[in-house]
């Protein structure tokens, strides 16, 4: 018969918590660094479509966003509008926007500069085409049609 050690030490052993703040701080710094606060407040409604053949963005830091959709403020009507940074804009303002975005990223990343187009399902292609034409004129050729992941199968 095995001999069981019946006598357990009754005094409650306290765990040393001196290193707890260190661990918590480590986690804290991790989240502080990875956190990105939502950069802009959306002025247009954006409900992106879903697709199968989607890819991840190549370099998130070298990506700028253009939002396209109907305005959130209903007094502005329901026609498709463009949002650059924090305000509604016209297609003619895109070249200026691209220039200022390009100055904000590391020159090494410039070849990877891409645009993620966050457009609403209901947006009209006319406006999207205008955006694309402006991008081509500004010689920005990398474009992502931002969409959610969907398993294969029919849409709608």
């Amino acid at each position: 018969m095995a001999k069981f050690n019946k006598k357990r030490s009754q005094s409650s052993t306290s765990i040393n918590t001196a290193s707890l703040p260190d661990i918590v701080f480590m986690l804290l710094f991790f989240f502080m660094v990875t956190t990105t606060m939502r950069e802009v407040t959306l002025k247009v409604k954006v409900n992106t479509p879903s697709a199968v053949e989607i890819e991840k963005l190549e370099r998130k830091v070298a990506t700028s966003y253009i939002y396209v959709g109907p305005p959130v403020d209903e007094r502005l009507g329901s026609a498709t509008r463009i949002q650059l940074n924090d305000q509604l804009a016209f297609p003619s303002e895109i070249p200026e926007f691209l220039e200022s975005e390009k100055t904000q990223i590391n020159p090494m990343e410039l070849p990877k500069f891409a645009i993620s187009l966050k457009a609403d399902k209901e947006a009209k292609m006319g406006v999207v085409t205008d955006v694309k034409q402006e991008l081509r004129k500004a010689e920005v050729y990398k474009l992502y049609y931002s969409s959610k992941k969907r398993q294969s199968g029919p849409q709608l």
Binding site: P21, V24, F31, K124, M125, T129, K132, Y141, K142, Y145
Partner: protein, 180 residues
């Protein structure tokens, strides 16, 4: 002056963990780890003013048109978007059998033209269908040649496959037509 011996007062660090936890929870909640995803497109450069129109046989062009009612015409016939993938695969891998479809995958071109009033969702679904078709064709070709899916190939092998099955989706230069 003689120095008094001071006992260094100890700061109670017991609440440090609490403060750190509080901050940690705040950042945990506000963090958005969303990785943005999307359909990748490479826009073509603007055409030069006197750029010649490339001479492509009509049978090698898959003509897709979408109107402002989100109805799609493929080679002049109305088609449901969900069927586009299968038709595109048939078009690419025709190898000259059907006289109206492409001669071979290398020459096949998809031409997409949409109206200004087309919904963005429809456009993305069409682009997605076309990409799915090309992925499937390339996958089956790579399975035949290398026994692996296209995405698992080395760069050199990818080049061979994509040379045989180039993904050419051309979009017509926009025109001011149709309603908004």
């Amino acid at each position: 002056m003689a120095r008094k011996k001071r006992s260094t007062p100890e700061i109670n660090a017991g609440s440090m963990a609490d403060i750190a936890f509080l901050l940690l929870i705040f950042f945990l909640v506000t963090t958005t780890m969303d990785t943005d995803t999307g359909l990748r497109a490479n826009l073509p450069p603007m055409p030069l003013p006197d750029q010649p129109i490339p001479d492509i046989k009509k049978r090698n062009v898959l003509e897709i048109r979408v109107n402002s009612q989100n109805l799609m015409l493929v080679e002049g016939e109305i088609m449901d978007v969900a069927q586009l993938k299968d038709f595109t695969i048939r078009f690419i891998t025709n190898y000259g059998k059907d006289l109206n479809l492409s001669e071979n995958p290398e020459k096949a071109v998809v031409s997409l033209k949409n109206d200004r009033g087309t919904a963005y969702d429809t456009y993305v679904q069409i682009q997605d269908q076309l990409r799915q078709a090309y992925t499937e064709v390339r996958n089956s070709a790579s399975q035949r040649q290398f026994g692996r899916d296209y995405n698992d190939l080395t760069d050199a092998q990818k080049k061979i496959i994509s040379k045989d099955y180039p993904q050419r989706i051309s979009e017509a230069e926009p025109e001011e037509v149709g309603g908004n």
